[in-house]
């Protein structure tokens, strides 16, 4: 198994990338999920 270790800078960049993508997708999914239901409640109470 041939492998090459990540440098500290690369590992840090990777961690930031994970955090950024996870938060972005989490927000999109939550907005979709809650948004649909909120829109439905709003339409029902109009």
């Amino acid at each position: 198994m041939s492998a090459s270790a990540l440098t500290v800078a690369e590992a840090g960049k990777r961690r930031r990338g994970v955090r950024r993508t996870a938060i972005t997708l989490g927000i999109i999914a939550a907005v979709f999920y809650v948004g649909f239901i909120a829109m439905m409640i709003w339409r029902a109470t109009r």
Binding site: M1, S2, A3, S4, A5, L6, E10, R14, G17, V18, T21, A22, L25, G26, I28, A29, F32, Y33, G35, F36, I37, M39, M40, I41, A44
Partner: protein, 537 residues
Amino acid sequence: MAYNDHAATAHDHDAHDHKPHGWRRWVYATNHKDIGTMYLVFAGISFFIGGSMAMLIRLELFKPGLQFLDPQFFNSMTTMHALEMIFGAVMPAWTGLANWMIPMQVGAPDMALPRLNNFSFWILPFAFTLLLASLFVPGGGPAGGWTMYPPLMLQGGASFPMTIFAIHMMGISSILGAINVVVTIMNLRAPGMTLLRMPLFVWTWLITAYLLIAVMPVLAGAVTMLLTDHFFGTTFFTAAGGGDPVMYQHIFWFFGHPEVYILILPAFGVVSEIIPTFSRKPLFGYEAMVYATASIAFLSFIVWAHHMFTVGMPLAGQLFFMLSTMLIAIPTGVKVFNWTATMYKGSLSFEPPMLFALSFLFLFTIGGLSGLMLAIVPADYQYQDTYFVVAHFHYVLVPGAVFAIMGGVYYWLPKWTGNMYDLTLAKWHFWLSTIFVNVLFFPQHFLGLAGMPRRIPDYAVQFTDWNQVSSIGGFAFGLSQFLFPYIIWKCVRGGVRIGNRAWEGAHGLEWELPSPPPFHSWTDPPSDALIQRGSAH
């Protein structure tokens, strides 16, 4: 020899190979392989629960008249069978395979969000316990079909809110799993693993994950509207209050059609891994496969109303949805052509994964062709709600998705365990499954064309013969599936030791790791040379 034994390569145990033991290993699991295993075991259990419901359905339909089940319970069985198989068996099986394989294939140590991974798995047993428990409450289980159309669904008893809550939990689990997959692929790929060097299984899962994030909230919204119609006096789908039951069908199928591709796209990925390996050739048209997968995913959002041509819609609408549905045949045809072209002049061998992949290729294509027939509006008016539709989607989902899952398990099982499984028994499993899946589902085309409606416990006597053939096929198919867990169990316990590369034609980073792989897959990213060797396309 069809596979490489231990002598081919030495094991290389990773220094970080320490892991928790006992129940804590599973309950607090954050390791992608452990969570993948739990998903796969969960999917297997659901497959047998859902399968036993199918056996009850086929038992009741063995002859006309009511034999064993009362009609309400029969309807519950059709509903629960579908929910179990779609959300409990096929989707978790794909997530299990994704958990096992994606980090190994992209050169990552684990999934990017391991604790979220644990959470998204452990939601599932609770969701399905709730769903199955709904069979035992007053009024019986949900009986409105997996599509949950109002007004029928709104007439459900105590099982109704339990079903809705269970679906919310499954949806949340799927979304969290999908986020994890996207974050892992986008961020933890080894340096040098560019997008167009990724294995097809990773590509198909990336696209599937985006589909999941986009459509599961739509299902959540639809079932929540059902819930508020039932309990909070809204009238979204009640005509008497100004609502429209057809609107539910539009919303449901806006989720439902992409859902079909969520079930089948990873199958395309697995087959695209298996066929090159056993053809000993690179995949023909790798980039075309990627673009075809993306095209299918895009088209899945603009075809939903082909599920509901008979509700009455403007001619322009019918034409649009008919033609857009037919367009899907183009990227799908590209895939079938490329798999066939991969085999052309290849050095083929027929181990169990390849057999399942070939069966997938033939039988999924039959399901695709009957889908094209259903896309034709005037013809669909005849086929709607008949057994022809049942035959169509079972051809897509059983020899399609389920066979691809089995092929994938047979392909990667030696890597997971370090042992080769009993190839003879696995071939028996393949032949029994392939023969009897056709005995089970092919006659349903004839029944549908002759006018037998779906979701009924009783039928006119002229449908008896083909129903009996179908039921015999069903029982034999069901029984033959017990071979699958037995073969896996036997392999986990021991067998011929194999080296890193279980199959001589296999390419990809997972085959560079020891078999079984270390607890953390790639603690250090693989070198560029390894990545280049792995991406043989």
